[in-house]
């Protein structure tokens, strides 16, 4: 061991000093000999380390926006760990180094004026907290890995360069054409090409193809920030100046010529060998701007698609002619009117102008970008990260998108305004961009890349565009097509991204970059306006003349604009934001006409739970001038109302006061359909698909709903149970003649967490013929063999806490007896004191109250210890977990705690309960009942969607929560990921990290699905027995398939069958045991129940004298299933839908089917094999046993052909 006591540190400033011994390190050569450890890389000491083995390179830079960055690089190759941390919270940062990036290890800390303070002991201690830094380390490495994945391989680059050279040559060989009239299509037919632009009438002029003046590679590939692995490369072909006349920017002439030029090139390229396939498409979805997609021949074509743009030479038109306020489409031409208007008074055509401008300013901006990126290579990776982030959110494609181009220009803007600097890491670039974008608002305060550009003219742009971001020339708006909603959406995502980075509890990298966020998993409600003729009509009737000219026939933006205007106002505070599903750019073969200009409009709403569910929209006071405006907007819905505070106001009422929560969630739908109908005459039943509550049907009660209230999705029924247990608790606390007073009563059934798919209903229960009465205890029992199963009445579980007493015996049996004595006493006195019916059992007591049957257990904490207690031969008492003790602990300790935590979660996010119900319903419908996938496990997984929603926001619509639940099941690798639920924030960051480490270290011994809550930390008690790995794999398959179906359903006509994802595939099972529906107590809950008795309602409960407890918790199907599992679970798995499923599916365990040697321990259920040497599973006898065990409830048993029988 080599010990160095002094180490000299060479400060950057050239100062040299020696660290005192306290701060020096012992440097150790381990047995490997190569490991040298540096401990003196103190935080505040900045400078180069002169040690032979280590080169520390410190760079310090001040950041414009206050996020000071201090970057240190170390050589990682020699395995040195130098972990340091600032005394301020460490920001996760990352420095890019083009050449040495892979080898270098960088760390960042905050620096301030006392940067050069000598290190203190405290800081030394901080060294140990490497964990905090690990997060950033991990982040950096993850970024590195991701960038590697999206990089374009060098092979393709060289292939492309060769290809583009050949391509240029080929273009150069195209001969000039004759002069044609611009409306002449004959020559196009000869080329077998259709013009890629819509028919524009009355364009005059001549077209002549001339050789392009230049061909260049532009766009992100040229700039070196292109998203791989499949890439699109923009190639720009410059048309020669001669092709244009002076005033070609007028009346579509420019676009026509451009399209013809492109068509001519496409026609000629057909003969060239370089090209595998060609399609026309639109640049950014703009139908005026066709582009040519070229798939190169050979290997290149696998990954690369060439996008050919045609553009005019710079300066062909004066930029000032194309300012937004100018008119370049003459109304007399466009509308074929005679009258001629003075040019000054013509309406402006900003969008039309912008479509030309974009081609003209391309070069200037490209040059600017190229020059900056060349001098600031560190920006490239940052831009790439931002583009990945945009793409995952689906924001960078389609008409009016926030494209990667805009993003990269914005990064340049930030650089220009000194909010990003040249030494920032990619992480810092991304973070600062998010930060700034989240704070900016381009809808009111636009920005401009042009230097010395007057603020005044930006406000001019605001008159014509919703979002403003000007290019380097200051004439063109990059965001011309973008609607306000898209910008606000991006802005909100930025805000979320920064929050996500600052949240230490989640893996922000995964959330930000690796999770794709399809539209339907982002928004609570989705509105699809599918009826294209309606959209047409809307534009024709309601769009102003000026806009028609401005968009020249492109109806989508006009319709969108009109509809958004109305919805924005109408939905107001109800929605946090409106998202637009940007229509994908279409592409079509050369021989086809361009596709229709009409596009289905899809909008998404993110609800604001504070306002979205209110049934009333309060307007201005009836006597105020605004009232007129309000009345005009809301039409016949508006009415004058007097409010409790005495005010008289205009208001709109959407529902009566007794609306269920399920109905309240759909108020936005009423608003939207009413407004679309009122304002544009949309017929609501057709043409508009509103995706929000399609799956609610699965958790509604169609059959026998309660008579006294609307059932909705069950929340109202749940509230009734909860209030019943509360009042029962009050009564129990008032009981007089029991030895210990009742101190608390707490419910533990799923219903108390709002998670019961079908919460119990109170009703008057009739005594049927098969049910007899028993004894004085007002009890119902079953006589003989019923022909119809009694109706399903579940009991509601609750536990009773008794007052403290030191007199409990120290013996398990005695405790049991005393508890039983309590049950007898409680039942007696509650019937005496409160006239409630009760029935004692040795292990619980049933109390019938308000039409519900409560099953109460006394919780005695000491019992757990008694169950754990063992005594060693030496007489030492030990406490070891046993099966019984764990079970009891679950029931009387964990369940009450979780119940109150999850109940709280539901109060915070009212969609939690119904989401859980949908999730449970789906799992059960897929024949995975709680035996395979425990209820608590489902509830906790759903809770994780609310506690860690990143990258989304917590869902407000149960259906959305369910979609995300399916995605969670389908995409999570449970082997490497654990779910840690920080309920009520009871765990610290350290606790969570500890559990994570524990999880990774002990993975093999832990359950297949590891779920940790603050109450069971490392034990994962709810997933110990189930789900098994096989079940998880099966669930992932089923969930993935369900998601695919849902994605398809979203684009289908309105009346589609959403229940299909709740119908299980049956191919995999060996035996199907069909049951008699009459003997299934829950058959009315089935997914596809026949609506025969749908008029019947349950009778409302009212107290009657001499009540009797109905038959509770008895379902022959459950009994049968339990018996099958008890007897045959070693040889087969049993699957059943507990919510009214009418069959049980059986799957033989493959291992059980193998012939075995005779062994006493493994002989059960086997028969001698044919040759007599071995034994094999007695499958046919088992199937017959199914008949025997299920006597009375089975209708038939289907054995699949091909199964081993």
């Amino acid at each position: 061991m080599k010990v160095k006591n002094n180490l000299s540190i060479n400060m950057k400033q050239g100062k040299k000093y020696t660290l005192s011994e306290e701060n020096s390190f012992d440097e150790a050569d381990g047995t490997e000999g190569s490991e040298d450890i540096e401990l003196n890389n103190m935080e505040e000491s900045e400078g180069d380390d002169d040690d032979d083995d280590d080169i520390g390179d410190y760079v310090s830079e001040d950041n414009e926006n206050g996020e000071d960055a201090d970057v240190k690089e170390e050589d990682k190759s020699d395995g040195v760990s130098g972990m340091k941390e600032g005394n301020k919270p460490v920001k996760k940062k990352h420095v890019e180094d083009e050449n040495e990036g892979a080898k270098k290890k960088q760390k960042v800390k905050s620096a301030d004026t006392n940067l050069y303070r000598p290190p203190t002991v405290k800081e030394l201690n901080q060294l140990r907290e490497t964990e905090n830094l690990f997060h950033s380390n991990l982040f950096r490495l993850q970024i590195g890995e991701m960038l590697k994945e999206i990089n374009i391989r060098a092979r393709y680059k060289t292939l492309f360069h060769h290809w583009v050279e050949d391509f240029k040559k080929a273009l150069g060989n195209i001969a000039d054409s004759k002069e044609y009239d611009i409306m002449d299509r004959k020559w196009l037919n000869k080329l077998k090409v259709k013009i890629p632009i819509h028919y524009l009438p009355r364009v005059t002029g001549v077209f002549k193809f001339m050789k392009p003046t230049s061909v260049s590679v532009v766009g992100s590939f040229g700039a070196g920030c292109c998203l791989g692995p499949d890439i699109k490369i923009d190639v720009r072909i410059e048309m020669p100046q001669i092709c244009f006349d002076m005033k070609d920017y007028l009346n579509h002439k420019y676009h026509m010529k451009r399209a013809l030029y492109l068509a001519y090139i496409a026609g000629k390229l057909q003969e060239i060998e370089l090209v595998e396939e060609m399609l026309f498409s639109q640049s950014c979805g703009n139908p005026l701007k066709p582009v040519l997609l070229v798939k190169p021949k050979g290997k290149l074509g696998k990954r690369v698609l060439i996008v050919v743009h045609v553009s005019p030479p710079v300066g062909v038109f004066k930029l000032s002619r194309l300012c937004p306020e100018r008119n370049n489409i003459r109304p007399n031409w466009y509308f074929e009117e005679k009258e001629i208007v003075e040019e000054e008074s013509l309406p402006p055509t900003p969008h039309y102008n912008c479509s030309i401008l974009k081609d003209l300013i391309l070069d200037a901006n490209e040059e600017y970008r190229a020059s900056i990126l060349e001098s600031h290579p560190n920006l490239k990776d940052g831009i790439l990260m931002l583009r990945v982030w945009l793409k995952q959110r689906g924001l960078d494609q389609g008409y009016g998108c926030f494209s990667g181009y805009i993003m990269s220009m914005y990064v340049l803007y930030l650089l220009q305004s000194h909010r990003i600097n040249s030494v920032m890491s990619s992480y810092q670039v991304a973070r600062n961009t998010w930060n700034n974008l989240a704070k900016s608002n381009w809808t009111t305060d636009g920005i401009s890349l042009a230097q010395s550009f007057p603020q005044q003219s930006i406000s001019d742009f605001h008159q014509y565009f919703e979002v403003v971001f000007l290019d380097v020339t200051g004439t063109c708006n990059f965001c011309a097509e973008m609607s306000k909603e898209v910008f606000l959406w991006v802005k909100q995502e930025c805000d979320l991204a920064v929050k996500c980075l600052d949240n230490p509890n989640i893996n922000s990298f995964q959330a930000l970059f690796m999770t794709s966020m399809p539209f339907y998993r982002q928004f609570d409600h989705i509105i699809r306006i599918q009826d294209l003729s309606m959209i047409n009509k809307v534009v024709e009737e309601y769009s102003p003349r000026m806009q028609k000219m401005n968009y020249t026939g492109h109806r989508y933006p006009q319709a969108l604009r009109l509809i958004l205007e109305v919805l924005r106002r109408g939905l107001g505070q109800r929605v946090k934001h409106i998202g637009i599903m940007l229509p994908n750019a279409k592409s079509w073969p050369l021989t086809d006409f361009p596709p229709s200009l009409n596009v289905v409009i899809t909008l998404g709403l993110t609800l604001d739970p504070e306002f979205a569910f209110s049934v009333l929209e309060k307007g201005p006071g009836a006597n105020l001038p605004e009232a007129f405006e309000f009345r005009k907007f809301w039409g016949k819905k508006s009415e004058v109302r007097r409010f409790q505070d005495g005010s008289i106001s205009e208001s709109v009422v959407w529902s009566n006061g007794s609306a269920t929560l399920a109905q309240k969630r759909m108020i936005c739908r009423h608003v939207v359909t009413y407004l679309l109908n009122e304002k544009f005459g949309f017929r609501t039943n057709r043409g508009i698909m509103y995706v929000a509550d399609q799956l609610d049907a699965l958790i509604q009660r169609y059959m026998l709903p309660p008579a006294d209230f609307d059932y909705g999705t069950g929340e109202e029924a749940t509230v009734r149970v909860i209030s019943a247990v509360d009042s029962l608790g009050k009564q129990l606390r008032q009981l007089k003649d029991i030895p210990l007073e009742v101190s608390a009563v707490q419910g533990t059934s799923p219903v108390f967490r709002y998670c019961d798919v079908f919460p119990p209903l109170s009703s008057l229960w009739k005594i049927t013929k098969q049910q007899g009465t028993e004894g004085r205890n007002y009890f119902l029992k079953i006589d003989g063999e019923p022909a119809i199963a009694p109706r399903w009445i579940p009991f509601v579980d609750a536990i009773i806490q008794l007052g403290l007493s030191g007199k409990w015996p120290d013996d398990l049996c005695a405790v049991q007896r005393i508890k039983a004595a309590f049950y007898i006493k409680i039942a007696d006195s509650i019937s005496k004191q409160f006239n409630l019916t009760a029935q004692q059992y040795p292990d619980c007591v049933y109390i019938f109250k308000d039409g519900f049957v409560f099953r109460l257990h006394v919780a005695h904490q000491h019992e757990i210890y008694l169950l754990k207690k063992t005594t060693t031969p030496e007489g030492v008492t030990k406490y070891r977990d046993t099966e019984e003790s764990l079970d009891l602990e679950k029931r009387i300790v964990h369940l009450p705690k979780l119940t109150s935590a999850l109940h709280g979660l539901h109060q915070q996010y009212p969609s939690y309960g119904p989401t859980c119900c949908l999730a449970k319903r789906w799992l059960s419908a897929q024949l995975l009942d709680p035996y395979h996938f425990p209820e608590m496990c489902v509830e906790l997984l759903v809770a994780s969607l609310y506690l860690m929603p990143e990258p989304y926001q917590p869902p407000n619509q149960p259906q959305l929560g369910f979609f995300r639940f399916l995605h969670l099941l389908a995409s999570t690798n449970w082997n490497t990921e654990c779910v840690i639920l920080n309920l009520n924030a009871e765990m610290t960051r350290e606790d969570i990290l500890e559990i994570e480490t524990w999880f990774h270290n002990c993975r093999t011994t832990l359950p297949a699905l590891f779920l940790s809550t603050p109450y069971d930390r490392k034990n994962s008690i709810w997933t110990k027995e189930a789900p098994s790995l096989q079940i998880l794999i099966r669930v992932a398959l089923l969930a993935g398939e369900a998601l695919r179906v849902i994605e398809r359903l979203l684009f289908l006509p309105i009346k589609s069958d959403w229940k299909q994802i709740f119908r299980p595939p049956l191919e995999a099972y060996d035996v199907l045991i069909h049951l008699l529906p009459k003997l299934n107590s829950r058959c009315l809950e089935a997914v596809d129940v026949k609506h025969e008795w749908s008029n019947h309602r349950l009778r409302a409960y009212h107290k009657e004298p001499c009540e009797k407890i109905p038959i509770t918790g008895f379902n022959p199907v459950d009994c049968f299933l339990a018996e099958l599992r008890e007897n045959y679970s070693d040889y087969a798995l049993f699957f059943c839908d507990i919510y009214g499923g009418n069959f049980i599916a059986v799957l033989w365990k493959p291992s059980a089917l193998l012939p075995k040697d005779f062994k006493v321990s493994h002989i059960n259920c086997h028969k001698p094999s044919k040759d007599g040497s071995k034994v094999e599973l007695n499958v046919d006898a088992i199937v017959e046993d199914f008949y025997i065990l299920g006597k009375g409830v089975i209708s038939t048993i289907d054995v699949k052909s091909g199964s081993p029988l």
Binding site: S81, V876, P1168, G1172, A1181, E1184
Partner: protein, 268 residues
Amino acid sequence: MAKSDTFKGFKAFPVKFSAESTTQHWLYYKEHSVREKNSSKPTNRTLFIINVPPYCNKDCFKRIFSVCGSVTSVFFHQKPSAGTTPPEESQFFTKCPRIKGFKVAYVVFEDNRGLQRALKLGENMKPVILCTKETPILCGLQKWCQEYNNRIPDISLLQKEIDTFMEKFDDEAHRKALKEKEMMQEDEEGWITVTKRGRKPGFARKESVEKKIMGKEKQRRSKKELRNFYRFQIRESKMKHLVNLRKKFEEDKKKLALLKQSRRFKPF
């Protein structure tokens, strides 16, 4: 399969549920012989049967084997066992877990002849019928209904049972206390037994208590030690710190490797 009636000394014979049944289960049986003797399962009178279907009950076994000789008792167990399960003291509170699924049976005959005859039972290979009119086996819906009804206890009986149990329990506790008190008295030689009760109780013999005592002992010892006194100790402690850091770094690296391995970084 017919002839090979011995599997490691076991003979097989088929049974079927009822006369209409088309399939059969195979019981395997042999003479019960184990080293541990138990008077309730005498060696030369007991038949040991395995692979007994879950629905078989004592009555039906008694009937089946009474053709060989009179049967004194039948025992069912989850797994082969030499002993017997203790009889349930109470009809409401069970001590032993219920037998689940297939089980083993011991049939005790009055004399050896019964056993001998029984051992030849399977030779004709005719399936024996389990459920007949004399010994019906309750199953299916009927069974569940009955189980549901049987759960309803007779309260007066239950109360009575609890009272007697608690009386006995209290008596026992009282007696125990008395005995302890007695032990605390000085015996002839002048010794006093230390018990948990009394003025000077001994420490509780619990694992946690023992651990605490051992821990305290260790702490006391470590207090006497001087740390960071000698130079080499300082060096060593720094070294330790270093090793910790290194370990952590290694751990982090491992974590990363794991991440790399398990998570692909393809965003699309």
